[in-house]
């Protein structure tokens, strides 16, 4: 189940969605963002990349942040302006230090099974920010620049 609110004000269109801490929510988050990005004119290869970034961020929120806890929600916010699409994905977990994640590109870490999610997110969006979420948890903000319509 998810709760959704849409708001359109001037040139800013926003959508807020509350998602359960399940893997189905990962699909739902990707689907919502790709629909809005598609409407904004994002092309196929960029859609794939953006979808991947959203999936990785949503997986982090569900698995590492909320740890599948049914009482905790994933907070998805999508904001679209003429210039960019801004996506925030937050969890209600304990939070973590970004520097606690080993560098997945270090030679000694190449064969680690996990720890590549943030690397892929960074690679697939134009801006990336990871920050504490108030009152608790972690949120990531992903930005995809939109091409100007000619």
């Amino acid at each position: 189940m998810s709760a959704m609110a849409e708001n359109q004000s001037g040139e800013v269109q926003t959508m807020e969605v509350l998602l359960d801490s399940t893997l189905e929510s990962v699909d739902e988050a990707e689907s919502i963002v790709l629909r809005i990005a598609g409407e904004a004119g994002v092309e196929e290869d960029d859609l794939h990349a953006l979808g991947m970034a959203v999936r990785e961020a949503a997986v982090n929120a569900v698995v590492h942040g909320n740890r599948y806890n049914a009482r905790k929600k994933v907070h998805l916010n999508v904001s679209r302006t003429p210039d960019q699409l801004s996506i925030t994905i937050g969890d209600e977990g304990e939070g973590f230090e970004q520097k606690s994640i080993p560098d997945p590109l270090a030679p000694d870490n190449l064969l680690r099974q996990s720890g590549r999610g943030l690397l892929l997110i960074r690679a697939f969006v134009d801006e990336f920010e990871l920050r504490p979420r108030q009152p608790r948890g972690t949120e990531v903000r992903l930005v995809k620049y939109l091409a100007k319509a000619s």
Binding site: L23, H48, V59, V63, L110, Q113, S114, L119, L120
Partner: protein
């Protein structure tokens, strides 16, 4: 669609044909179980054909690495075949091109094991 896996034997090389998505959950664990079982059964030359794989996420990448480690620890080799551009990009971003031997052509991939 989750991943579908099948195996065939070409000489002494075991080719694993994969299709679909290798992502967190069933897709990744299906692959992990197959590689573990093949290694335990003594298959030492494994060629993973990803030609029909449409999507791999970081968990899927992790399973490829885990499979590589499992096979190597059993004294075998795991090589990759038929990567599409998106999967190649993932290997570039994660620097795993330096770990995996990647082939575009099956015949040359098979010969490379000899």
């Amino acid at each position: 669609m989750s991943v579908k896996l099948s195996t065939r034997q070409v000489g002494d090389v075991t080719v694993i044909d994969a299709s679909g998505r290798i992502t967190l959950g069933e897709g990744a664990s299906t692959f992990r179980d197959m590689v573990r079982d093949l290694s335990a059964a003594g298959h030492k030359k494994l060629l993973l054909n990803l030609g029909d794989v449409t999507y791999i996420d970081s968990s899927g990448i992790g399973e490829l690495v885990s499979g590589f480690t499992t096979v190597t620890n059993h004294g075998g080799q795991l090589k990759l075949l038929g990567l599409n551009k998106r999967v190649k990009d993932l290997l570039q971003i994660t620097k795993l091109y330096t770990v995996f031997e990647v082939h575009d052509d099956e015949a040359s991939a098979i010969r490379s094991f000899q």
